[in-house]
Symmetry: C2
Subunit: 304 residues, 2 copies
């Protein structure tokens, strides 16, 4: 009975100081339960097929429902097949779309999908949307954390929340007008999180596998990293919705849930690194530095 008090004191201290014996990320992953993981939903997963392989993108219908619907419609009418990666700007983005988008007589026609959409830069809070808040604040937003596997920010004053430009996030390129995007041109962040783009572009998903097929592309030498010659552009073979692909050809992946005590443990394991190599503990973590583990179903090691 007397043993209870010391334990409580220890717990109180642990809340304020790094726990030297707390788990590393490897420990957290090893201790995770099947319920800490969720399979990708085939209806909300798309495959960007390139000659060297497949990029798997999880879509975010909770944050960009119209854009997600439209990108799926574009994929289903094979809009992207035979288009190309047009731009690779170092420490910024890779972007693909129609090389002839500016030439009315040559440009790819949209069929059932919409060529453009109103922006979905942000949305209202909703109680059903989970939010795992990070404890360390953020330079750009009042509150940041994770919702349904995506990095998000919130502003309690306005009641708005939005997806955030971290490495691997996927957005709908647009021209100067806010409603000039729609998903025909998509980009992926391949550098330090360009947070100034938050609430300026509709983000609609996140790369969960294969980003190295994009991030290691040769940088374009034109302004904004656009390729200057057509032969420098890697072709887009296709974009397909996972649900439309034969089950045997799908990339079966599980993503760690971001609304669990296990994910909280993972965050803590990255705020204070307990691996022997580390001499100084950061004590804090920035949103875009929190990894969201991905694995093959039931595997003990994450794919990244």
């Amino acid at each position: 009975m007397f043993a209870v008090l010391p334990l409580l004191v220890e717990a109180a201290i642990a809340a304020d100081t790094p726990q030297r014996n707390a788990p590393t990320m490897a420990d957290v992953l090893a201790a995770s339960k099947p319920a800490d993981w969720r399979p990708l939903d085939p209806e909300n997963t798309i495959y960007l097929e390139l000659t060297p392989g497949r990029v798997v993108i999880e879509l975010a219908p909770s944050f960009a429902p119209q854009h997600v619907r439209n990108v799926k419609a574009l994929a289903r009418e094979h809009y992207f097949d035979g288009l190309a990666i047009l731009r690779c700007q170092d420490n910024y983005v890779v972007q693909w779309g129609d090389p002839n988008a500016e030439k009315p007589e040559l440009k790819r026609q949209v069929q059932q999908a919409k060529p453009t959409l109103p922006p979905e830069f942000e949305r209202a809070f909703e109680p059903k949307l989970p939010f795992t808040r990070l404890p360390d604040g953020d330079v750009y937003a009042p509150e940041v954390g994770f919702s349904g596997g995506f990095p998000v920010a919130r502003d309690p004053k306005t009641g708005r929340m939005w997806l955030v430009h971290c490495y691997g996030m996927v957005g709908a390129g647009r021209d100067a007008a806010a409603d000039s995007g729609g998903g025909t041109e998509l980009y992926v962040v391949i550098g330090h999180g360009p947070r100034h783009l938050d609430r300026n572009v509709t983000l609609l998903g996140r790369v969960v596998q294969g980003i190295e097929l994009l991030s290691a592309l040769p940088r374009g030498t034109g302004p904004l990293g656009f390729y200057e010659k057509p032969e420098q552009r890697m072709p887009v073979k296709s974009i397909r919705i996972a649900a439309d692909v034969l089950a045997a050809e799908r990339s079966l992946l599980e993503v760690m849930r971001t609304d669990t005590p296990t994910f909280q443990d993972l965050i803590e394991s990255r705020r204070n690194r307990r691996e022997d190599w580390f001499h100084a503990q950061a004590g804090h973590i920035e949103l875009c530095n929190v990894p969201i583990p991905v694995r093959r179903p039931g595997a003990t090691q994450p794919t990244r």
Copy 2:
């Protein structure tokens, strides 16, 4: 005389709200004076020579004097010539060194330089060190800003300051012991700033040109992004100190000074983007998102 008051009121408002007519970064660059720029010091610039081209690195002797001296000594004894890029981990680092470092009978011998050094993870404040503080805070450190062209953090409580892991920063790889580095193995950040490494590794410089030769390398498929086969490693032709290279073969570059009103204007132009494309102003900026422009001497356009 009565016209003065409205102007003052306007100025007071401007301090709190984004100035819609304030200059863009392009305006700031166009208006910059020769004194806003400084040439690279050939004694503190090294060239990493690779088959596809040259990576130019500015060294930071104010923050890592021993490591800078040692890397220069290593370069002068041609230690790096014929070594290789060993590791390319996506969204993290590219690292080069001796492929045989773990094989005592095969490893490259250090001559006049030192194989290892005590760490230079941080240093004391000193009045002569400039510090341009950012107004928006930081998740990891009490104060952040720029000193002599490098991103730095400070802690007034301890009187310490240190270089920060932003994109392009160069550090000395080490094993588990804090004093096991020294510069024989060097890495460059090619992803979202891995700030948890701050004060855990000696940073000693920053890539000012050619980072795309490293960031676009194929990712290594082994653990931590190490290449699994020798033939996958890009050879390091040499590392030379700019001062040791014929004047005609030097990369003549100027870096924008970070201790001027012009650089303050540049920071402001990035905190609130006035380009037409932007609909929402961030109102803040994170240290690693502030660009440090580089140009050929007297050029009107920066090289990046």
